[in-house]
Symmetry: C2
Subunit: 337 residues, 2 copies
């Protein structure tokens, strides 16, 4: 033990040798798990303190050494919405003493499959899964899995745990906001509608139009193949060119809405006077430009809390009463409407 | 095998049973690893095609099942710069047939330690490590590690592989740009200077001032404890209140610069006429608002490529000729200067 210096990390075994107590006793003290005297506790805690580690960290290290790990499959961490959902999930799981490994799939099916295979080879206890472009993964259900944000597509129906926002309602209230503010020629920029969250928002858009006696027009429905600012910018320029009298645009993501506002600024089309915009997600960008962007708020906190609680329950072998969770959404009216 | 249906995934063993060839032969065909006849190949590939999987994916699954995994330790994936560095790294590693597990540390030392302990328990071949607030982790050097973006702090000096931007130069050219455009009372918003990347930018700022005969003033140097838009906004409001005649602000991150521009807009201080702004990173936000933000571009592509190549070389047991890589930075002059 001579080479062990203060300020360095120390193993349970080394604490045992230094203290003269058994590894089991040291572990009990660290985990505060009964059956040791005050004197024993003091001696062991003193050694832990001397060697610069928190008992809590050691305890965590011990308890996490095996399988207290959740894999999070996320389509694109450079989209703040997904990054924040992953961070909220991780922070709730940390509170419950689980670690989170994040896998970024680039919305690419091959990469998604690769990461699923890889997670199989690791000591992962459960998966929280935002399905990508084609989340058909029938095989990977041998460990607890919670699907969030998007319905996976299976070749045969499966009993899954799914946590999603009320996206149909979101699309509806976004479009209703535009109608309430006087829009009649309302375009929509929407990501692939095979992705359930975006498909449902499109349904909500159409339902709101119909409820107000407006017939949805194909030329106003723009499907985008990427969710980012540049795509929102380009598609808005194109839409304004094709349908110059468009007076409102619902964007199924704030990144698209941000691009739309930038495009309209550059085209010198006044927002909200001539064209009104509603986004989706409520990421920090929406309040970081003038005009602030009206949007439909999704609760990343609810995603994190519900998903963490559900996956931990499943990993503990509990049966969940509820299999589907629908998180409410809220219209945040700002300066673009 | 009757219950196996087309369109489902299939194991090597099942292909072996269906084809009548040994698992070894199937594996050789999948990996295109010599020693099988054209007829064998055709029969096995037909089965693979019938059951809907790409041989390539199966091969990858096989080859990645053990330890072709790199852990990436990242302080905050909701900052686009870190998200993009992680994604570039992952994409280069995917090309080299490695998977990446991303650990988000929230710039928190306890979380960082926890994830390091957790990665130890996993079959990880190497780590690419953006050290957080107090990256003093002397112990965790038993597997190949490449440090990027920030110099870790060790209690005793260590021979490490470090890839970083030329941050001193970055701080210098940012400040020189402000001076060139006529600024004399130049503030700086900088993240904790114990973080080497930000500390070096502050050194560059001071050096540029001195080189131009301007004495750095304490009241103009604002340390922030968080890198986000809101913090940039708040600190800029405070700076304008304390030093109303400030005429330029260098921000050590684009998120801070974005907040600064928003604050000045709200305070009706004209940018760039009355106050000029330079950011750092060149994230997509910089060109998404008017005025577009002048910034110092860091090459996330270089980070990804250099880090992937270095860690793969180290994991293959090669000795790297070079231990420190300094990536060049570039001033991108836009509308805020």
């Amino acid at each position: 033990m001579n080479k062990k210096q203060k300020g360095k990390s120390i193993s349970i075994k080394e604490i045992s040798e230094l203290s003269g107590y058994s590894v089991a006793t040291v572990s009990r003290v660290i985990n505060n798990n009964g059956r040791f005297s005050k004197e024993t506790e003091q001696k062991i805690k003193q050694i832990i303190a001397d060697y610069g580690y928190q008992p809590n960290m050691l305890a965590r290290g011990l308890r996490t050494s095996k399988s207290q790990i959740v894999g999070a499959i996320v389509p694109d961490i450079s989209n703040e919405f997904f990054a924040k959902v992953a961070i909220e999930l991780q922070n709730r799981l940390l509170e419950l003493d689980y670690s989170t490994l994040i896998c970024n799939t680039n919305e690419d099916y091959q990469t998604e499959l690769r990461y699923l295979n890889m997670l199989k080879s690791q000591q992962i206890s459960g998966i929280v899964y935002i399905a990508g472009d084609m989340g058909k993964n029938d095989e990977f259900l041998n460990i607890p899995t919670v699907y969030i944000d998007r319905k996976p597509i299976f070749s045969t129906p499966k009993d899954i745990v799914l946590i999603e926002s009320n996206n149909q309602k979101g699309g509806y209230i976004a479009t209703q906001e535009l109608i309430n503010k006087g829009c009649r020629k309302i375009g929509v920029l929407v990501y692939k509608d095979a992705i359930s969250s975006h498909g449902d928002r499109l349904i909500g858009y159409k339902n709101a139009l119909k409820a107000n006696g407006i017939i949805p027009e194909d030329e106003l429905i723009i499907t985008v193949d990427k969710v980012d600012i540049q795509t929102g910018y380009n598609k808005t320029c194109k839409l304004i060119k094709t349908v110059p009298h468009v007076d409102g645009i619902f964007c199924s993501s704030d990144l698209l809405a941000f691009g739309a506002v930038s495009a309209l600024n550059d085209l010198e089309v006044a927002v909200p006077d001539n064209v009104k915009i509603v986004g989706f997600d409520d990421i920090s960008l929406t309040t970081s430009i003038r005009p602030n962007i009206t949007t439909v708020r999704q609760s990343v906190e609810s995603f994190g809390t519900l998903a963490a609680n559900a996956i931990v329950s499943m990993m503990s072998g509990e049966n969940l009463d509820k299999k589907e969770y629908l998180i409410d959404v809220e219209l945040i009216s700002r300066e673009t409407t």
